[in-house]
């Protein structure tokens, strides 16, 4: 395999992973606020179906994305109401919604199975940037506006998390809602807000499949991607950059698999979908056992701090727990 070939594989990986990036970032946003939206599997599928149907009937892909975002928000609203207001188990509600929305997408999307529909128009390489050696062909000759949008989203979300006041507040309510409340923030309202926005992004991920990267609609069109997104968020340690990296890693595994198909016939591509989960469990085992901290404890302060931050995978401390004012 020469370098040109490698570049093509990597560029394809980035393309393949793009819808997943949307879903992962949406889930990251939600979880950072302290809420687990376990419905991702169903939301992505319902988003894909609704996006396709809306785009087909209105003949506008962008309205399709809008519809997918709305349906993602609606599902997230149910999660938020059950989890934040009624203080029921987020796991139970999210899980039921995951199954329910998958089936709903199959049922209501039945008349639209395997018919041609509108797709996102191709985009052009980004001038100037495409000329950068290696990075140009890798990132900026993608020919798809959603891929470019995902770059903006990744960087934007990272910037929002770590460089803005609102992002600092977001991280705060997921870590210590009581402390955020004392500082004058409306924890409940903010959790609703971020759960809804995150849900919209997960819905958009679905439409990104059905209107672009895996154009069309069929039963269980996006099966598995929602669960994978949940795993990647953990793997990525709730940091937008690392989460995106996790999604790309998954994309690479997939494109490598299709390349390898010809040489290693014994191993079907589906086996590679397992990889993120194995990685997730390994990451969880490594980081929760505490020996990593002990090992890092031998390092001098400055590199230790940098490494700790880079490797940090502790979930937001209040993840999954309801907040009660008094």
């Amino acid at each position: 395999m020469d370098s040109a070939q490698l570049l093509i594989i990597l560029a394809t990986a980035i393309t393949t992973a793009t819808p997943l990036v949307f879903a992962c970032l949406g889930e990251t946003l939600t979880e950072r606020a302290g809420v687990i939206n376990l419905s991702a599997e169903g939301t992505v599928m319902l988003g894909a179906m609704v996006g396709f149907v809306v785009a087909k009937t209105t003949e506008s892909v962008w309205l399709g994305f809008l519809g997918a975002a709305a349906v993602g928000m609606l599902v997230a609203l149910i999660v938020a109401y059950g989890a934040i207001t009624l203080r029921q188990s987020q796991i139970a509600i999210g899980f039921v919604l995951a199954l329910l929305c998958s089936d709903l997408s199959s049922y209501l999307g039945n008349p639209y199975v395997r018919i041609p529909g509108p797709t996102v128009p191709p985009a052009f390489p980004i001038p100037i940037l495409e000329a950068i050696p290696v990075l140009g062909p890798l990132f900026f000759r993608q020919g798809d506006v959603l891929v470019y949008a995902s770059y903006v989203l990744i960087i934007g979300m990272w910037f929002y998390f770590y460089r803005t006041r609102a992002g600092l507040t977001l991280r705060a309510i997921g870590e210590q809602p009581a402390a955020a409340f004392v500082r004058g923030h409306n924890v409940v309202a903010l959790r609703y807000l971020y759960t809804l926005i995150g849900g919209a992004m997960i819905g958009i991920a679905g439409a990104a499949f059905s209107l672009d990267f895996k154009a069309g609609w069929s039963h269980r069109h996006t099966a598995g991607y929602g669960w994978i997104a949940l795993a990647i968020v953990i793997f990525g340690g709730w940091n937008p950059l690392r989460v995106a990296l996790g999604a790309y890693l998954f994309g690479i595994l997939q494109s490598l698999a299709s390349v390898a198909q010809s040489s290693i016939q014994d191993v079907p591509t589906q086996v590679f979908t397992v990889a993120p989960f194995i990685l997730m469990i390994l990451v969880l085992v490594l980081t929760s056992a505490g020996w990593l901290d002990r090992l890092l404890g031998y390092l001098p302060v400055t590199p230790r701090r940098a490494l700790m931050r880079a490797l940090r995978t502790a979930p937001p401390a209040a993840l999954g727990r309801p907040f009660e004012q008094d």
Binding site: Q88, L99, L104, Y107, V274
Partner: protein, 360 residues
């Protein structure tokens, strides 16, 4: 601060309705929503109900399929009663079914090699060993999730989900790799077993007495254990308040691992039955998602095994009845899942509303 007992908020008296009102209100809303969704797909709810009823019980064959589904579902649900009562969301049940099925297939292939013309041991013994292997496979996968949770302090939800995919990955690898059909490997599964290794059925139907027997037995044992034994009581104690149970002398870790063990055991049996009783081979989706459906069943009955049988029967009938929809009305069979999901979702929301707002 993070109390698990929701506090009641102050509301005008008008809102303080009895808990029953909230719960039945939620049920009515879910039924209305189901009707609305059926209407959205351009069908008549009445007709759909009729077709599904006909599809579930009109022929012995259909009843047999309902019973076959019920058998597997009962095993899964019975196992999940233990984990739910121990306070665990064992989403890994699917993987436990799958790994049980893999173990069963492994033993059956061992005892009836592809080139052989007959089983090395008497077929009933082979089947029994296969089922036993399935149970062990499920236990292995269950204890793996349990160990990750209890010793690795990893959320049982993510450990379980991860192990589900890992089990599916193993199954697909085997189906396409070492266990592939002579000629062409495909997602349709391994080479079917010789008919001598199929479980006997009720007449010409898909239902097997062994499967149904195991399902009912598992449920019966579960009801007895949960209601009448110290073990069941300790399990509920740990699930409701791990620390207080520890203070009262209940070995919490041991109880949690036991719950994973038993759930894995029953799920593994379910996987074995899917192989020897239903599909007669290993297929990628060998569980038919009945593990997840089991989660819904047990959530709907609020973890009380006494109500599992009627709900599981209803859900099985929905599953099989809905298979008629594509043929007769051009609708998708996933309506069954929509109905099941909406019923459970609104039961959860109704419970939440009652806890939060109802007058005590």
């Amino acid at each position: 601060m993070n109390s698990t007992i929701p506090s009641q908020t102050t509301l005008p008296w008008l809102w303080r309705l009895p808990a029953l009102v909230y719960r039945s209100g939620a049920l009515i809303i879910s039924l209305l929503l189901i009707g609305l969704i059926v209407l959205l797909s351009g069908a008549s709810p009445i007709e759909v109900i009729g077709r599904m009823l006909v599809g579930a019980v009109s022929t012995p064959d259909q009843i047999g399929r309902v019973v076959a589904t019920l058998s597997t579902l009962l095993l899964c649900a019975a196992g999940l009663v233990y984990t739910f009562n121990a306070g665990l969301y064992n989403l890994g049940v699917e993987g436990q079914v799958t790994f049980g099925a893999i173990a069963t297939t492994f033993v059956l292939r061992l005892l009836y090699p592809e080139e052989a013309t007959a089983s090395l041991l008497p077929p009933p013994l082979t089947i029994a060993l296969g089922i036993l292997a399935g149970a062990l496979g499920g236990v292995l996968w269950g204890l793996l999730a349990g160990a990750l949770h209890v010793y690795g302090r990893i959320s049982e939800i993510f450990a379980g989900l991860g192990l589900n995919f890992a089990a599916t990955g193993v199954a697909i690898y085997l189906i396409f790799g070492p266990w592939k059909r002579p000629g062409v490997a495909s997602l349709s599964g391994t080479q079917p077993f010789d008919e001598s290794l199929w479980l006997g059925t009720f007449g010409q139907t898909e239902a097997t007495p062994v499967g149904l027997g195991l399902g009912l037995l598992a449920l019966l044992i579960t009801i007895v254990v949960m209601r009448n034994t110290y073990f069941g009581l300790r399990l509920r104690a740990v699930g409701k308040n791990q620390y207080a149970a520890h203070v009262l002398g209940v070995p919490a870790r041991q109880q949690l691992l036991s719950a994973f063990f038993i759930c894995g055991l029953f799920a593994g049996l379910a996987g074995a039955i899917q192989v020897v009783g239903v599909f007669h081979r290993l297929i990628p989706n060998i569980s038919s998602n009945l593990g997840f459906l089991g989660l819904l069943v047990v959530m709907l009955v609020n973890f009380d095994p006494l109500w599992v049988l009627p709900v599981a029967l209803f859900f099985s009938a929905l599953n099989i009845g809905s298979l008629q929809l594509p043929l007769s009305l051009g609708l998708e069979s996933s309506l069954a899942g929509v109905i099941q999901g909406l019923l459970v979702l609104f039961a959860l929301l109704g419970r939440g509303l009652a806890q939060r707002y109802a007058a005590s």
